[in-house]
């Protein structure tokens, strides 16, 4: 939201100027907040009102302000943001403003500019010539770039919590503990995802190896086949376990269909080798080496797979991005249009993704570790739900509701 503060003074009550101005703001589809009002006590006393006016776009606000000026509104001048040059590549100036993932505006040369994208833990680089402001990471910044310092001239617009309807995301910081019932909330979630899918929203899933190891992979496959997954984020090990399960029936040597089966790492290493030999996951599917599992379903249904690596990775499987900075950039790109995110049993990747999400993205975090759920939900305090549970029953119930 773009906003300006206006002041009205004079006999604004007797002349009905105050109600007229408020009506004009509303009929233009804008909003107001009266931040200060002082009504004259005697007839000749003048009244005063300070009103914050906000509109969806800068143009709509400018047009409205122009009309309000005719009614005597004075626009309160706000301070410009302060700026300093980056002293070296990859280094922000001291006192640089650290962003949140909320919508943010900076005032430069008397005009408010929206910072793009809304990205947390970044600095704001300003391009005065183009009149743009962008959130930048360390690797984005070059010596001499103009960076916003201090808090002056920076305005943050937090996402408003939904107050109407029965949206399952309307409650703040909802975490369903291990000993609490989950069916009702999974049913609501299924409804939300159904509506999101129908409205052409984009659903991202972040998945961990536990999904394969607990045998929940088949439920995820059902969701993929029903087109409830648009993008899949995981690490090398998730892909490796899934491929191992597809090729050898085990994951980390363990057969989920046998009680108390124990195995070693041999099958995993052989599975990774098979994919490397095939030239990657997509090639393995094409050559009919890989004929089942989650990776197979994604390739088969043309779903974006974003695999990023870690130190412990075996292989890695071709297609896994191991450069951490490159991985960040790619994840950001692939998350830009996401509307819903399911963070499932993968705390490291979930936290990385959560830190890159726009504040409007509705997020569900499922993990068996309560502290992991709490940390992930903390990134999206107004739009997230956490469930402390084994991921297998969660996915089974969700798939039963959506994919049947």
């Amino acid at each position: 939201m773009f906003s300006e503060t206006i002041q009205l003074r004079g006999h604004i009550i007797d002349s009905l100027i105050l109600p007229k101005v408020l009506d004009q703001i509303l009929t233009h589809g804008a909003n107001f907040k009266i931040t200060e009002i002082n009504i004259g006590k005697k007839r000749a006393d003048q009244s005063f009102a300070r009103i914050e006016v906000s509109a969806e776009t800068g143009e709509a606000l400018d047009e409205l302000i122009l009309r309000l000026r005719q009614q005597g509104a004075e626009v309160l001048e706000r301070a410009n943001a302060q700026i300093a040059a980056a002293s070296a590549d990859g280094v922000f100036p001291p006192d640089f403003y650290v962003t949140t993932n909320q919508q943010t505006f900076v005032r430069i040369d008397g005009k408010e500019i929206e910072v793009q994208p809304a990205m947390m833990d970044s600095a704001i680089a300003v391009d005065r010539k183009r009149g743009t402001a962008r959130a930048v990471k360390f690797f984005d910044v070059r010596k001499g770039d103009e960076i916003v310092i201090g808090h002056q001239g920076v305005r943050v617009v937090p996402v408003q919590r939904a107050t109407t309807g029965t949206d399952v995301f309307q409650f703040i910081n909802t975490i369903v503990d291990a000993d609490e019932p989950k069916s009702a909330i999974i049913r609501e979630l299924a409804g939300e995802l159904y509506r999101a899918h129908a409205a052409k929203g984009k659903i991202a899933v972040v998945v961990g190896p536990a999904i394969v190891r607990t045998g929940a992979g088949q439920h995820l496959v059902r969701l993929i086949e029903s087109r409830y997954v648009d993008r899949l984020f995981a690490g090398n090990s998730f892909a490796a376990y899934d491929v191992e399960r597809a090729l050898f029936g085990t994951s980390l040597g363990m057969n989920p269909d046998l009680a108390f089966a124990r195995g070693g790492r041999e099958n995993l290493i052989r599975a990774v080798n098979a994919i490397r030999q095939a030239g990657g996951i997509a090639s393995a599917v094409e050559k009919k080496i890989l004929t089942s599992g989650i990776m197979h379903a994604c390739v088969h249904h043309n779903i974006d797979i974003v695999l990023t690596g870690s130190i412990r990775d075996e292989g890695p499987i071709p297609g896994v991005t191991t450069d951490a900075i490159e991985a960040q950039k790619m994840m950001r790109k692939k998350l830009a249009d996401v509307t819903h995110a399911l963070l499932l049993a993968n705390i490291q990747h979930s936290l990385a993704v959560a830190s890159m999400l726009a504040p409007t993205v509705k997020t569900v975090c499922v993990d068996i570790d309560p502290s992991a759920v709490e940390r992930a939900v903390g990134h999206q305090p107004l739009q997230s739900i956490g469930l402390v549970t084994d991921v297998e029953p969660f996915l089974r119930e969700l798939a039963d509701r959506l994919a049947s």
Partner: protein, 277 residues
């Protein structure tokens, strides 16, 4: 006895177009101009008024419309800040004349447009102020501050009625006659809230500048062409003096535009500054 300021129409003419009435193609006829103005002067002089004349200036054809010279309350004169450069030259002549006649001249900030009595009329205890086409609403606050009175600002929405005195005429009994369509709905509501007895003027009669009338106690001097309004006013006990004003209407003015009260109010009513009821 009321004192009035008029300006002989020696240099009057349609030399530019700053309102929808003006057309340089439709010139005023000089002999008729003189005749109509003299008739107004004579009528007002007979009504127990002292009429003063300011010297007309060449190159300032609209100086004849003295209502736009400024606003006078008691011995205080607030000169206009004209919106159009064509009329801005009138200001120093009016201010100087008022100063020479013993009035205290109080200036508005230069950046606020205000066109005098044309946009500021006392009705009962309230100073009604028109804005948008000529005066800025911000000037009303400044004037209320200078005079210490309640100023009700009303937005004018019909360019043909570009000054308040073209569509609103307060009466000494606390009522007023007006052309409601000249105001936006908030302006209409504000006027209705402060003036209880309102006489609506029909559109056809309003187009004859009927609201542009000079009211001296029980006498109302107004342009010809409003028979229904005249009957209504007569029923309320007013004596109406209907004058031909065709040559001045060509410039968007009539009786009231040609007249400024000195002062419009002798002093401010206690009620206009006192505690709210």
């Amino acid at each position: 006895m009321r004192e009035l300021l008029l300006c002989p129409p020696d240099y009057y003419g349609i030399e530019y177009e700053i309102n929808p009435w003006m057309s340089v193609a439709h010139a005023a006829e000089a002999p008729v101009v003189q005749q109509q103005w003299k008739q107004l002067h004579a009528t007002l002089s007979k009504l127990d008024c002292k009429v003063h004349l300011v010297t007309p200036q060449p190159g300032l054809p609209d100086m004849v419309f003295t209502a736009n010279a400024g606003l006078t309350v008691g011995r205080k004169f607030i000169p206009s800040n004209f919106r159009h450069k064509e009329r801005a030259g009138e200001q120093p002549f009016f201010a100087e004349w008022m100063k020479q006649h013993g009035y205290e001249v109080s200036w508005l900030p230069e950046n606020l447009y205000f066109e005098g009595e044309g946009d500021a009329l006392f009705g009962s205890d309230v100073l009604f102020c028109g804005y948008k086409f000529r005066s800025d609403i911000q000037s009303h606050g400044a004037i209320a501050e200078m005079l210490g009175c309640l100023a009700v600002s009303v937005e004018l929405v019909d360019a043909r009625f570009y000054h308040l005195d073209t569509c609103f005429c307060p009466l000494p009994d606390g009522g007023a006659f007006w052309f409601p369509n000249a105001f936006d709905e908030y302006g209409q509501r504000a006027i209705r809230e402060h003036v209880t007895d309102l006489i609506d003027v029909a559109p056809a009669e309003a187009m004859h500048f009927s609201c542009n009338a000079v009211v001296i106690e029980g006498d109302i001097v107004l342009p010809q062409g409003a028979p229904r309004l005249v009957i209504t006013l007569q029923e309320r006990g007013y004596r109406c003096h209907e004058l031909p004003m065709s040559e001045f209407i060509k410039a968007g003015g009539a009786c009231k535009c040609l007249t400024m009260f000195m002062p419009q109010r002798e002093r401010l009513d206690e009620r206009s500054i006192g505690a709210m009821e």
